[in-house]
Symmetry: C2
Subunit: 402 residues, 2 copies
């Protein structure tokens, strides 16, 4: 048969909710020669990846590793190992990914008490604490940086929920999909028992792996549970045997994806965690300054905005989808739309990992301004760019990212 | 911080049970620019991958797609969607992967009737048929080509089991991890309801994805089941919404891995399925001719050997592990050892995908001969190579691979 035309994707600037732009070194790493999944060279790389993930998660948990599937499987791994028929669960829901946690707890036979806020509002921490005190749940879960809204839960609130959870003798699961690699994480200090993330956000690596971390206490719970974990693929008792000291064959790790993650982590530590976190904050502040000049406003109130993902309200009379299509078709930029109750009402602009920089901000502001003008709106794009640049440059590189 | 030394893996000839050698075009595809998981260009690629997978699986099943995780997750996907508390299951076990199916059925609350044969022996088809007639199971499962032993179940036996399963009104799951892409598959003709595979065997793509296919009848069962599927990530009702016409966001697909799979499928169809299957048979026959000259014997009886993976008995007095280490260290070749009850008793030599060719055979024969001589055995390596080459060349390229 004749040769097929190879697939040749366009170069799109990925400023949606992920995947984020990938550094050329990470892409190159994914085409390195494939090793066996028990090869001594690969096993040494596994150790290195695990050590690096511990540093970005802010933990000493021995069980810290990339699950061989995407971020959603990390959520599933945390829940299937810690929930079982009859588990009393409290889940904070202020976006789509909180809803998914509820769904997963229910699939394991858990009883779920939902503490709901409107999408775009902060997590209702007071009601979370109260519900935990009342329900004495075995499992508490919420999303650190809600990817569907751009809401971040501040450190002291995470810590307070963890404390209440432990007083109830429960376990806390934290969704760190969008925050990991873009913001200082401190699982051990906060008291998080199980956390998961994805590679395609602030780590700047293509999607495909889900970094997870379980405390020794959570591992003990997974070992001692009376009913078996419904998943074999995600059973932490088995995964620990492969990634841990024994190197017992479990499944065949996705070698190329692990190479990519290792290269992405190299970039993270070459830059330095604090410098990286500060870069995310600077880019987000520049973006918000620029969109305000364009007459747009962020969805989320000050103090709860996650720097890596800014939700922008769609002005009345503007066709949200047409703007996104124009950006993609003409400017070669991807941004995200709203999910669930926010569909058509917001755009989600991600400045994550390699993409969290002024050039991304300037390109998306130009594109947005252009797209709005196509819909008959008059916007001062030049001033928006000037303002974004000024705000960006006014921030010291070593500004605290808090 | 300073630049880190990038990971630079050795070039190892992968002749174990997978991962198999990867063609440079596949590796290059994995470093192409990343697109969003709902990008129109990526969606078009998804369609192409699905159509190609239908062709290699020999099916028209609309639900045919790569699960975003490795082959073991494909097994889990098939079982969690079709087994639930109380499901009566019949599982054929003649190797490690059959055992895993039993484990997974039990985790879903199924009652499992195991039809066991010794590792290395063919599936006991007569007892399978009898047990199915007696038990009237809702689910029947077995492994087409047992990766832990190299035993292949012939087409007519697959068909007979499918017929009995349907007479009992049950569903048949077939593990095609090692067979897909290396042997003619005919899911529709055989009557298989759900099948899964991995990319890292005869498709010649790095590990990371699991092609699966569900018949409409199996999809109906997954839709209508009374209890919910324990997995959200692998729920075919949700996966079908993303990969099917709706393109409803479910999870973020592993973009680079899908690029690699698409490139691997391009190579499969450029070569042609029949030519590819014949190449696997030729390479396996050449290998067996060569190992016999080296005084070694295959584990599996004639008629049940899967061409892509040949298990070789370790002769008395030989240190199996030392041979493997010598091959890896000196000859830069990976082969596999035995699993479970066959640990230390066999080597597993895979000639899969891009690796199923005479050069692989000659290299592994040279290496094996050398390793045996290091343990004091006298072997005629030159004659083994001559014989392998002669047997290889004697086979017409268009030989039937049956």
């Amino acid at each position: 048969m004749s040769e097929r035309l190879a697939f040749s994707p366009s170069e799109i600037l990925l400023l949606g909710p992920g995947p984020s732009p990938v550094h050329p070194r990470v892409l190159a790493a994914q085409s390195a020669p494939v090793l066996g999944h028990l090869d001594p060279e690969f096993v040494a790389l596994m150790d290195r990846v695990q050590a690096d993930l511990r540093s970005v998660f802010g933990t000493n948990n021995p069980f810290t590793l990339p699950i061989s599937a995407t971020g959603s499987a990390g959520m599933e791994a945390c829940i299937v190992n810690l929930a079982q028929p009859g588990t009393n669960c409290v889940v904070g829901v202020h976006g789509v990914f909180g809803e998914r946690m509820v769904d997963l707890c229910e699939r394991q036979g858990g009883t779920v008490h939902v503490v709901r806020s409107d999408y775009g509002k902060p997590l209702d921490v007071e009601r979370m604490l109260q519900t935990i005190r009342e329900q004495k749940p075995g499992l508490v879960a919420f999303v650190h940086a809600e990817t569907s809204t751009g809401v971040l839960t501040p450190d002291d609130e995470v810590r307070a929920i963890a404390r209440a959870t432990h007083e109830a003798d429960g376990y806390l699961i934290l969704d760190c999909v969008t925050s990991l690699g873009g913001r200082r994480m401190a699982l051990d200090d906060w008291g998080v028992d199980a956390a998961y993330s994805g590679t395609q956000k602030c780590l700047g690596v293509p999607p495909g792996l889900s970094p997870v971390s379980f405390s020794d206490r959570a591992m003990q719970a997974a070992r001692d549970r009376p009913s078996r974990c419904t998943s074999w693929y995600l059973d932490v008792n088995l995964l620990g045997g492969y990634w841990g000291g024994e190197r017992k064959y479990h499944h065949t790790a996705p070698i190329s994806a692990v190479y990519g993650l290792a290269a992405g982590l190299d970039l993270v530590f070459e830059e330095g965690l604090e410098a990286r976190f500060a870069r995310h904050v600077r880019a987000a502040r520049a973006l918000i300054a620029g969109i305000e000049v364009l007459g747009l406003s962020p969805l989320v109130e000050t103090g709860y905005r996650t720097p890596m993902l800014t939700s922008v309200n769609v002005p009345d009379g503007i066709d949200a989808k047409a703007v996104m299509q124009h950006l993609r078709a003409v400017h070669k930029i991807e941004i995200g739309g709203g999910l669930g109750s926010l569909a058509g009402k917001i755009w989600r602009i991600g400045l994550m990992g390699h993409g969290a920089r002024l050039t991304s901000v300037l390109r998306v502001l130009s594109g947005l301004g252009d797209a709005l003008q196509r819909q008959g709106e008059t916007r001062d794009v030049t001033e928006a760019l000037r303002m974004a640049e000024a705000v960006h440059d006014a921030q010291d590189r070593t500004d605290s990212p808090a």
